[in-house]
């Protein structure tokens, strides 16, 4: 009888621990922002990683990327920067207007895309636009560019956030085939500024 009680107790402990571990682990992996937890803070605005798709990634890094942004390219081909805050350190919010001002990036191709931080997808909009790239964005003679992020239409280079207020979003800068000079400076390359214009 004593052994039976001990065995039942052990089974209950294992079952409870299994359920608790599974629930807490899944919750921590699928948290909408957890994908960025191990990214490196470059300058207070932009986060960086070179572990996407990498064999060198830890189990947690691999799982978070698989759940939050699967099938990214390894750093051999592309590098990724993410901004979840503006230059003042305030989380990006849907009701605010931002001006993203970027330098000429010495790379074959780059694109800047906006994602809803909760759904982790693009924000549906009438323009059907969630990104600009180095070919489509208007550039000044020195290669600099400006992209306006706002809930309402802007005169030029607009990425719509969403009309519903208080929705956090993120900006992802993808840099494909960076030049050797750019690679040598990673992650400390000149990155776009993210300025809150109004709110």
């Amino acid at each position: 009888m004593k052994y039976l009680i001990t065995l039942i107790g052990a089974i209950l402990i294992i079952a409870a621990s299994f359920v608790a571990a599974r629930a807490t682990t899944v919750k921590s992996l699928t948290n909408h922002s957890s994908i960025f937890d191990t990214f490196e803070d470059v300058n207070g605005t932009w986060l960086f990683t070179d572990k996407i798709g990498a064999a060198a990634a830890s189990g947690v890094e691999r799982a978070r990327v698989a759940l939050g942004g699967p099938l990214g390219l390894s750093a051999k081909e592309a590098v990724y920067f993410v901004a979840t805050k503006d230059d003042e350190g305030t989380p990006l919010q849907s009701q605010c207007t931002y001006r993203v001002t970027g330098p000429k990036i010495d790379t074959r191709w780059w694109s800047l895309a906006l994602y809803d931080s909760i759904t982790q997808h693009y924000v549906p909009n009438a323009e059907n636009r969630s990104s600009w790239n180095n070919v489509s964005v208007p550039r000044a003679d020195d290669g600099t560019w400006i992209i306006n992020v706002a809930p309402t239409p802007q005169e030029t280079t607009w990425i719509p956030s969403q009309e519903a207020p208080d929705k956090n979003f993120e900006l992802m800068l993808r840099v494909y085939n960076p030049s050797d000079a750019t690679r040598a400076q990673l992650p400390n390359i000149e990155l776009p500024t993210v300025e809150r214009v109004s709110c």
Partner: protein, 178 residues
């Protein structure tokens, strides 16, 4: 009596801790594999079978895309299964940007090549497992660490005007048993 209570308490705590950490480790290891299996099922449903090309032919963001998908990247995909032998992927690159990448079942991107790294616009790859002989088949051999996985071809579009050319390029591409 006290020592017995202490013993059972310590044993229960140790059992709970071991179960917790083993379960956590299993969930972390299995999560990428589960995601890959889900994506493979979607590709197979779109392509009609394993080892067949499936082309996105829509420019811009899409509701059914993967989380944080790049809207400028027009994707051709293939869920591969090398159980019955190697698979051939061939076609022509896309000049604005083209890359061919393979993902093993734990989601690692174990191979990627872009158009500038090739000698010309024509590509002809053979995907095989380590033990499969491809010497008589021709094509550039790529070894997949796992029997199943995913292939992606990315072609970049500056805007919607690039789509007719991209669609023609996609339709000239072949995926299938070697």
């Amino acid at each position: 009596m006290l020592s017995r209570i202490l013993f059972y308490s310590l044993a229960a705590g140790a059992l709970a801790a071991v179960t917790f950490f083993v379960t956590r480790s299993m969930v972390i290891q299995k999560a990428p594999v589960k995601v890959m299996s889900t994506i493979e099922a979607r590709i197979v449903a779109g392509a009609g079978s394993w080892n067949a090309c499936f082309h996105n032919q829509v420019y811009g963001p899409r509701r059914n895309a993967a989380r944080r998908a790049n809207p400028d990247s027009i994707i051709s995909s293939m869920a591969y299964d090398l159980s019955d032998g190697p698979v051939r992927i061939s076609g022509e690159t896309w000049p604005r940007y083209w890359s061919l990448s393979f993902y093993q079942q734990n989601s690692d991107n174990f191979f990627v090549v872009n158009d500038l790294e090739l000698d010309g616009p024509i590509f002809n790859y053979l995907l095989a497992t380590d033990g499969q002989d491809t010497s008589e088949l021709g094509g550039t051999r790529i070894v997949s660490p796992t029997v199943k996985g995913i292939m992606l071809v990315r072609r970049f579009a500056a805007d919607a005007s690039d789509m007719p050319g991209i669609i023609a390029n996609q339709e000239a591409m072949t995926c299938g048993p070697a």
